[in-house]
């Protein structure tokens, strides 16, 4: 690795100030699992590395009136183990379990996974399916936006120089929303996703699908919602035929590439099947939830 300066801080305001001062000549170290691999293959120096992994307020998982706040420095292992996440959005813990291997999950953070913004990330789909929002901080204050607006393309986000992703918020109205995450890779351990899919939905009093969300990873320049499939599904009864049709529509609207892992056509086939299965699982959770609550 080329020489660089290193500063670790436990104070969020100091981190933001440092980032503000150094702008593009500074890089943030969260878990470091992507950053270090990147630095080792880079011929240029990052200048200053600001280590934010010890900032306590970025490691909080907390349920508020606003929603479930997950600090950017929460690791994937911590997401898997969090009682709050397992209670309110278990699909997010299921997604975390599929990231890398134990060693990567012990260091890698939710914020790092989102900021790195590789299209095959495993954190994105479930969060999109739960309408998650992100909070960004800079010297001038904070701004909040839907996660859908955060991604701009492969390894590109809306983060400006000097801006830091500080937390992810799952809106209170979506806590407990029936959801399911599925991923297919070339093998089980440590595999990048060929496709990952998350689906969430409610069932209304008549038993029809309400507010369906379908999110797809690794089949577009960034993690995307399958909006046409969602529109098709809204208001329909949860029959296996309609879920299969939603899968076909999602396969049409995604934009996968051919690469050495799989052809675009194979990825589309995977989307159709995984969307159908994820929707079926989310429906099953929704029915179970209704049953537990004594609804008809």
């Amino acid at each position: 690795m080329r020489a660089f300066d290193y500063l670790a801080t436990v104070d969020l305001r100091q981190a933001v100030r440092l980032l503000d001062e150094h702008g593009t000549s500074a890089r943030i170290l969260a878990g470091g699992t992507d950053l270090l691999a990147d630095l080792k293959s880079s011929s240029s120096s990052p200048g200053l590395i600001i280590d934010i992994s010890r900032i306590k307020e970025l490691k909080v998982i907390e349920s508020t009136a606003h929603g479930l706040r997950i600090g950017a420095m929460v690791t994937h292992s911590e997401i898997m183990q969090s009682a709050l996440i397992r209670e309110h959005c278990p699909a997010l813990a299921d997604a975390a379990r599929t990231i890398g291997a134990v060693q990567t999950r012990n260091l890698g953070t939710l914020g790092g996974n989102l900021v790195t913004a590789v299209p095959s990330m495993d954190s994105g789909a479930t969060l999109l399916a739960l309408d998650a929002r992100v909070v960004l901080a800079c010297g001038g204050g904070t701004r909040e936006m839907p996660l859908t607006d955060f991604f701009m393309g492969p390894r590109k986000t809306v983060l400006r120089p000097g801006e830091l992703l500080v937390e992810v918020v799952i809106p209170a109205c979506n806590l407990g929303k029936p959801a399911h995450f599925l991923k297919t890779g070339l093998r089980k351990g440590q595999a990048l996703a060929l496709v990952n899919v998350a689906a969430s939905l409610w069932l209304d009093a008549a038993g029809n699908i309400e507010e369906p969300r379908i999110a797809l990873g690794a089949v577009a320049p960034s993690v995307i919602r399958a909006m046409a499939a969602e529109r098709y599904l809204a208001g329909r009864s949860p029959q296996s035929g309609s879920m299969a049709e939603a899968g076909k529509i999602a396969a049409e609207e995604c934009r996968p590439i051919n690469d050495f892992r799989a052809t675009a056509a194979y990825r589309r086939d995977l989307v159709a099947v995984l969307v159908k299965r994820a929707l079926a699982q989310a429906c099953e959770r929704a029915l179970k939830r209704q049953h537990e609550r004594g609804a008809p």
Binding site: M1, R2, A3, F4, D5, Y6, A8, L29, G32, T33, L36, A37, L39, K40, I49, D51, S53, S77, G100, A101, V102, Q103, T104, N106, L107, K188, G189, Q190
Partner: protein, 168 residues
């Protein structure tokens, strides 16, 4: 240079490191602990696995400065002078290693697994070791060894040869 202090295998160290030194570089080059191996150097192979504050990590993907104030366990700290750790004994009995390059990382991944889950299923063991590559591809005997070591560590068998405490 950055001044750090950390505990490695129970011993305190006050050290000065350059910012770009990885934890693996510190262990191998400054402390002479060459059990953790430099394999892929990008976090895929797990040959550099060490345990930091109870969690397994790839030492090649961590800066030494990040380990300031932490407690590190490497393969050199697992056995006592008198006795191998039960996982090491099981690996010996089951002839689980061939060339041995992946061994320190695999054994520490197994330790981290069993510390958190003393009674793992075969599938749990497979998942627990999925961050470690063995290019001799001798995984089956490693999995046997870890399951056996788990029995020993739970006190269900006297030793890794499988003799039961009850003598049955």
């Amino acid at each position: 240079m950055i001044d750090i202090s950390l505990t490695v295998n129970g011993g305190r160290h006050e050290l000065s490191v350059s910012p770009e030194t990885t934890l693996l570089g510190l262990l191998r080059n400054q402390l002479g602990l060459t059990g953790a191996k430099l394999g892929c150097d990008v976090g895929d192979c797990g040959a550099c696995t060490v345990i930091i504050d109870g969690r397994s990590v790839n030492a090649c993907l961590m800066l030494a400065a990040q380990a300031d104030g932490c407690s590190v366990l490497t393969i050199e700290g697992l056995a006592t002078r008198e006795q191998l750790h039960p996982i090491q004994q099981a690996f010996e009995v089951h002839a689980s290693l061939q060339c041995g390059f992946c061994g320190p990382g695999i054994i520490l991944s197994a330790k981290a697994l069993l510390d958190g889950n003393p009674d793992p299923s075969r599938q749990d063991v497979r998942e627990g070791l999925s961050g470690n590559l063995c290019r001799c591809t001798g995984y089956a005997k490693m999995i046997e060894a870890v399951l056996q070591a788990a029995c020993v560590m739970r006190g269900e068998t006297e030793d890794v040869d499988g003799k039961s405490k009850a003598g049955s």
